[in-house]
Symmetry: C2
Subunit: 558 residues, 2 copies
Amino acid sequence: MAYKSDIQIAREAQKKPIQEIGAKLGIGSDDLLPYGHDKAKVSQSFINGVQGNQTGKLILVTAINPTPAGEGKTTTTVGLGDGLNRIGKKAAVCIREASLGPNFGMKGGAAGGGYAQIVPMEDMNLHFTGDFHAITSAHSLLSAMIDNHIYWGNELEIDVRRVVWRRVVDMNDRALRQITASLGGVANGFPREAGFDITVASEVMAILCLAKDLQDLQQRLGDMIVAYRRDRTPVFCRDIKADGAMTVLLKDAMQPNLVQTLENNPAFVHGGPFANIAHGCNSVIATSTALKIADYVVTEAGFGADLGAEKFLNIKCRKAGLAPDCVVLVATVRAMKMNGGVAKADLGAENVEAVNQGCPNLGRHISNLKSFGVPVVVAINHFVTDTEAEVQAVKDYVATQGSEAIVSQHWEHGSKGSEALATRVAEIADSGVSAFAPLYPDEMPLADKVQTICKRIYHADEALMDQKIRDQLKLWEEQGYGHLPVCMAKTQYSFSTDPTLRGAPTGHSVPVREVRLSAGAGFIVVVCGEIMTMPGLPRVPSAENIHLNEDGQIEGLF
Amino acid sequence: MAYKSDIQIAREAQKKPIQEIGAKLGIGSDDLLPYGHDKAKVSQSFINGVQGNQTGKLILVTAINPTPAGEGKTTTTVGLGDGLNRIGKKAAVCIREASLGPNFGMKGGAAGGGYAQIVPMEDMNLHFTGDFHAITSAHSLLSAMIDNHIYWGNELEIDVRRVVWRRVVDMNDRALRQITASLGGVANGFPREAGFDITVASEVMAILCLAKDLQDLQQRLGDMIVAYRRDRTPVFCRDIKADGAMTVLLKDAMQPNLVQTLENNPAFVHGGPFANIAHGCNSVIATSTALKIADYVVTEAGFGADLGAEKFLNIKCRKAGLAPDCVVLVATVRAMKMNGGVAKADLGAENVEAVNQGCPNLGRHISNLKSFGVPVVVAINHFVTDTEAEVQAVKDYVATQGSEAIVSQHWEHGSKGSEALATRVAEIADSGVSAFAPLYPDEMPLADKVQTICKRIYHADEALMDQKIRDQLKLWEEQGYGHLPVCMAKTQYSFSTDPTLRGAPTGHSVPVREVRLSAGAGFIVVVCGEIMTMPGLPRVPSAENIHLNEDGQIEGLF
């Protein structure tokens, strides 16, 4: 049997006007700011008006460590949302927006796959409702105002060697990673080293995704540290007086975007912070709003559970007062086989032995998640090539871990395929068994927070921090930043810092290379290994093949 | 009597849903892609469907050389559009979109003023429908792909010293005017000098505003020259294979934006090419579409008539096959007085003598415009401080020039104040007296085109071009670019290249400093004097005072 491609399925979608989708959640058309006929922003006044409502159940979808075989985390998030609606629940999905730049490098991110997708897919992978452009503008305004301040006399006494605010562009442009700016003489300012990151890596993005409302947004923007003086005292965004204008630029972007699944169920797509140097979850305002108007909200976190779910639970939930009622851990038979040592080319053949060998990666994620006090269900995202014996092997293993695994066939069958998963997840969420607590308290010293995550989540012997890093953490504690959570930047491919180390490694240690303060977003970034904040394009960028076909449809993007 | 500020008036606007505005021009709601409730894009399929319609009358609004006193060209454009609707004509207005960056330097561009404004004013001065962001993205993609091509082996043999494609950002950021890019070693590419312009200065912007449709757009994008080889042969955007993906990024931006005047009449706001290094008029697609669905279309050109109208007539009309049926030349008593030597502070006092002394500037614009074969009406944009004697002086002067001047009070009274102007303009447009022809034929040599404009429009003795420039023009003629029109880049404040030389100077010459080929847009830019393609911010940028007030309204932007 031949299967349709994601884009074929998406193009055949029978979309409903976005007003009908909003109506399912009680959002009137006056409170929907349409962007075309199939996208809308939910007005701030509507959001203000639902604050008194009861809060729905929150379901987090996370995954094992990613492999080239693919896990289908977003696909499962969408499929589960549709499944909940199918069994008569009022459910909404909350996912992240896609970054524009990377789509011109590699073929782009569809929002889900098969019969579990969010549409309009093209728009979501291009400009969408302009949120990321607004973030780029707000970020760029601050950049320009900093150099302008220096140009006109530098009253704040910024040390031009210590401007930590980099510039951003939403494009993979390695040539801008490191530049010398302000060349060309007196009229252009004081030459200094500078550089660009991709927009999703901006602290403005992280802030937009954590802010409760516009006031909170402006407060956090003002709190950002943009530079230091020669005496090492910080210069804040507020000192540059950019926070008000940045808030104006972000006013519309703060309103969550509503779109729909292939089955015409509501989906919020809002915010997309970098999952390594930031917390990597969709916006707090979207999740919180969805919880006030839907009975069940399904959301996802970036990368595997060691990185994404850890940050979701320790950063987003802590800051927003959220608590998941159930966690769904996505695994595939194929990914288990890769964790068990099978090469991608050989995934087609049945190999129960390899499945068994790969399962400990899954097992460790289960026990990690349980340590947060949350109930865990494993979703086996079914591929048509999976054999019954392989699936059973995963189920059996999960049972030994005191959890349960449910096969879900949303990719092939939409909500019909995810009914079983949805039913069980709703039961657990309704049961009230979740007793969520973050892994560490606010008042734990920063270095201990890092050790806690490395030992309890990565199962490492220890985090290695040299004197310079320990001194830096101490200094921040003295300056009043000790209560912040830590945001780990580590490879997503392994529990360790070695991306090739699959399974459930032990005996490793985690070298901390650098720590960074995101004073506005409100976390300390702990860098373990290389982090790339400005990707490059490959030798043959996908952009070379992207074009409009004769019917005006976009080709080559997916 | 106290007058309300523009922003007060705009906030009190009784806006109608954009579907009602579209309906006035026969655009059904399915063909309107809404952006919120008061903005929409007109679908490409609608545009395709009206091509067979009769073409309406085109009215160009231009002005005398700008002075710090203000002329109110956009205000008059809007007021005239409302006036035409008031007298029962089916009329639409076509103006340019505002650039975001400059609004954070000086207080921003309202769209019109008093009771002749286009709303929603805040949106139009911020992200609007994202067109400029799309242009920035498309431009940035090409920038990244050029350096990426060099990085991966430079198969096209680009001379890295001769990359002429600069980068853009929609922000006033002088620190980016001149940079060294690709620093930091092997992973980041080959270091080279580079720099940023503001987005409106991008050739992509000029192309978007001149392209007939998406096919034409892609063709022109492909034609852009991005670099030269050591042997000086050009490398085109098409060689980099960026034209398809850029077209995809610009697909939505190509659709004209529909908004409304304070009096709920339709206004298209689309495109905003730099008025010095580009042609400075709104998009061809907006103007052409408006002409197919309205009986009268009022549009404007950048700066004074010597620059803006000249380019409108010689570039936009030539390329798009448009021909104005009437030209309205906007003047104010105050601007006449400034041309007559009065300082801004002294404009309040009656000074008929100064008005008389300033009028020759107006006179020269009248005769220049007439040389294109178009009928000219002078609109005296009335200020409440103008005295009857001053107004009469302008009228008398204009009569001596074989033209007529009509006082218009749209700023104070809306369409009630512009009824007389609208009535006369409609009469002239209907009369068929216009016999428009561009100033020079396509086949005239490039150097002669420059001389023609300098002598016949600027009334200079000659254009001064050194051997290097003449050789360059010859080379382009040999390469097949000789048929292109020239796009003059000159100060807008004077007929000469000396911005302090007001009135109607003679005996001057025009030094040509540089010529540039915009092969995609399809013109040769002739630079006479300084041109700034990346503005800076002032000592106290207006951004410092821009913020949301307690009602969530934007303060400080206007």
